[in-house]
């Protein structure tokens, strides 16, 4: 798979904080990339540099193998910020047309695209409504449409599901998958871990301005597994104890086991087989991203402290 975005040693220091402190990562074309981190970790600053809103203090950003140029490359990027915003007094259709044209589309193309997306999301009747008349969920949908309207190759979504009901949430999730299938790359910034597990191929975790984790969701789960298995037996063996494992939890014939250092999962199975216990189910329990997140971020104060930066 080829790379669409390559970020190297990116730095942005503010007077009171090292907002982004030497972060590097790559994003594959057509993947759904999760940018995770607690509040104030530096995610928004990182995104603002990728979208050309901020200039980095140091480091390089490459888009499509070329050095990122904010003026010409905006057409390739669609960004939906966490702070959602639209002109309240403007009509929905005009607003979508206006923002599409600012991205560089001509009037005619913009009109066709807006119509197409409005139909897809059943928003045709909103065209002449003012934005201030829309509900929060409705304006969220409009915002999403505006973000992807100009068919950018890289879509950056900051907390795209906040404020959406499950039905609309699913609608947008489907669209995200659709876009990825068509080759659009999506960077997805959030701290809602269950969505990340469901959607993302690859994630990085940022805390206090530095990258602390990078990998595919599968790899990361493997990396953080604690060798915990559940076993369901038809009857408990006569001798339950064995050197290969210790029991974390027992609920009748259902056991939660932690495999001890130096043993493999098959050693446990062999023990049960030797003990004549019938094995009904045997599963590895992988940690959820949520657990990994909490484990890694734990110990950091919930609110990031201000520090003096001497750059």
């Amino acid at each position: 798979m080829s790379t669409i975005l390559e970020v190297q040693n990116l730095k942005k220091y503010f007077s009171s904080q090292k907002a982004v402190d030497d972060i590097s990562f790559t994003v594959d074309k057509g993947s759904i990339f999760g940018l995770l981190g607690p509040n104030g970790a530096g995610k928004t600053t990182l995104i603002r540099m990728i979208t050309g809103i901020f200039y980095p203090d140091a480091g390089t950003i490459n888009l499509n193998g070329k050095n990122f140029n904010p003026t010409t490359d905006v057409i390739d990027i669609g960004y939906m910020p966490e702070e959602r915003g639209l002109y309240k007094k403007m009509k929905v259709g005009e607003q979508a047309m206006y923002l599409a044209q600012l991205k560089g589309m001509n009037r005619k193309d913009a009109f066709v695209k807006v119509k197409e997306w409005f139909e897809k999301f059943e928003m045709q009747s909103w065209w002449n409504k003012k934005v201030e008349d829309l509900s929060k969920g409705m304006s969220q949908k409009l915002q999403f449409v505006i973000t992807v309207l100009h068919e950018p190759r890289l879509v950056i979504l900051d907390e795209p599901f906040s404020g959406l009901d499950p039905v609309n949430s699913n609608l947008i999730k489907e669209e995200i998958f659709n876009l990825a299938k068509k080759g659009t790359t999506i960077i997805f910034s959030t701290h809602r871990m269950e969505q990340v597990e469901e959607i993302c191929d690859h994630i990085i975790l940022v805390n206090k301005g530095t990258k602390i984790l990078d990998g595919s969701v599968k790899e990361i789960k493997q990396q953080f597994k604690q060798n915990i298995f559940t076993a369901e037996l038809d009857r408990l063996p006569a001798v339950l104890q064995h050197a290969s494992f210790s029991i974390a939890k027992q609920d009748g014939n259902n056991l939660t086991l932690k495999i001890n250092e130096g043993y493999r999962s098959n050693d446990v199975l062999l023990h049960f087989i030797n003990q004549q216990s019938g094995i009904i189910a045997y599963h590895e329990i992988l940690p959820s991203l949520n657990e990994i997140f909490i484990r890694l971020v734990e110990g950091t104060p919930t609110a990031r402290q201000f520090e003096t930066v001497t750059a």
Binding site: T51, I77, P81, Y87, Y98, L99, L102, K103, G104, Q143
Partner: protein, 442 residues
């Protein structure tokens, strides 16, 4: 560049379509005319005559007060502060005197406020009576006195005109017209700076509070966003200006149908008896008079200059207003305090202008019309007095140059503040922080 055009178009169209734009465009000229001619009408027709009783203890003034348009005097016997109302008067004028033939003090007692006009009329009469008495004391007879008055008040006694000499060309000076044009253009520019500056500021604040700024700056540069807004609103301002000029010409030609020469004459008579009323009357009078000689003004120079100062004065201040809008949040109070350093020089400009109208060649007027903070207002009040007569060419050139340079500087400065401010939520920036943003590199 193309993106700035798209932004300009949106800013222009959303504003011109707005109801408040239509209302203010059509109501402002109507209101101005109502104020000016309304004043004249009220001055001419609406003054009430007050009835004042006089208790003259000195014996000098009795029967010497002339009943005029403003006051009717009466001399009832035994009048005092408590009984004047029973005798059918609205006030009592008591001239206190210890020994006859000398007034110690004069006091007017009334129940209601009678207004400045009444006061002025009474004071004028007392002065005139004193003057006459002093003259008669020195041997001038009553008859001589009356004939002198009659002669000096007649139109023939003074035939005064002033001329402006330019080489061999002698032109009749029309100070009244220059004054009227100077005042009007100075005030219009003042109003434009304040109103349109505030419109720019509100527009930026709207983008910030609606949180659309971040969406916008991910598509366009903050500078494009700011300039698009400023230029778009300038176009709205020019549209409004042209509509105003059109309407004013239309209304003034209509107004001549309603305002008869007799009415104006009457208004001018009122001015003589009551100088305090003169302001609004003479304004209307000036307009009417100006209309007769309106083509004597150098419009070919005044109109382009006006458009220049209108536009660049606005551009000079608009970016500063945009910078203020970018650093404040929802709270309008915050905006007020940060606006003060910007509105102060504009208001100062008006004060200098009022001075410059009286003395258009004075050094305050000259420098006020060159320094870009006040030049749009002050220069426009001087230009009607003549270029190069009153305003020399170098002054006009320097003034225009420094205004353009000033505009480039304020825009450069504001763009830097704006870029940082527009994405900053939560707290209001201090002036110190703004200065830091403005002068830090990229």
């Amino acid at each position: 560049m193309n993106k700035i055009l798209i932004i300009i178009k949106r800013e222009y169209i959303t504003r011109v379509r707005n109801k408040t734009f239509l209302l203010s465009t059509f109501l402002f000229p109507l209101l101005m005319f109502a104020l000016m001619f309304g004043g004249a009408f009220i001055g001419a027709n609406g003054t009430e005559q007050r009835k004042i009783a006089v208790d003259d203890q000195s014996g000098i003034y009795k029967n010497n007060f002339k009943t005029g348009a403003a006051v009717e005097f009466g001399y009832p016997a035994e009048v005092n502060r408590n009984n004047y109302k029973d005798k059918g008067y609205e006030g009592v004028l008591i001239i206190y005197s210890a020994n006859r033939q000398k007034a110690d003090s004069v006091r007017l007692y009334t129940e209601k406020q009678l207004g400045l006009g009444t006061d002025e009329a009474i004071k004028n009469q007392i002065q005139k009576i004193n003057e006459n008495r002093l003259l008669m004391d020195r041997g001038v007879t009553r008859n001589t006195l009356d004939s002198i008055r009659q002669l000096s008040e007649s139109k023939e006694s003074l035939n005064y005109r002033s001329y402006q000499v330019k080489g061999s060309e002698i032109k009749e000076e029309n100070k009244m017209l220059a004054l009227a044009i100077g005042y009007a253009s100075g005030f219009i520019i003042y109003i434009v700076l304040i109103i349109y500056g505030t419109v720019v500021m509100r527009g930026v604040m709207e983008e910030k509070t609606n949180r659309i700024a971040e969406v916008m700056v991910s598509s366009v540069k903050p500078f494009q966003l700011m300039m698009g807004k400023i230029i778009g609103i300038a176009a709205v301002g020019l549209t409004q200006l042209f509509l105003w000029i059109l309407l004013i010409f239309l209304l003034s030609s209509l107004s001549s149908l309603f305002i008869s020469p007799e009415l104006l004459e009457q208004a001018q008579k009122m001015n003589e008896t009551m100088p305090s009323m003169a302001q609004s009357n003479s304004m209307a009078f000036k307009i009417a008079e100006a209309k007769n000689t309106i083509f004597s003004a150098n419009w070919a120079l005044i109109i382009p200059c006006f458009i220049f100062y209108f536009l660049f004065g606005y551009l000079f201040y608009a970016s500063l207003f945009a910078a203020v809008g970018s650093v404040v949040n929802e709270d309008p109070q915050e905006a007020q305090s940060l606006m003060l350093p910007i509105t102060l020089p504009i208001v100062l400009g008006i004060f200098i202008m009022i001075n410059a109208i009286q003395n258009p060649s004075g050094s305050l007027a000259v420098w006020g019309s060159i320094i870009p903070f006040t030049s749009p207002i002050v220069m426009m009040s001087r230009i009607p007095f003549g270029v190069p007569g009153t305003v020399e060419y170098w002054q006009l050139g320097l003034s225009m140059l420094s205004l353009v340079a000033g505009f480039l500087f304020t825009t450069w400065l504001s763009a830097k503040i704006y870029r940082t401010g527009i994405l900053l939520y939560g707290k209001k920036a201090t002036l110190k922080e703004m200065a830091k943003w403005a002068f830090k590199k990229a």
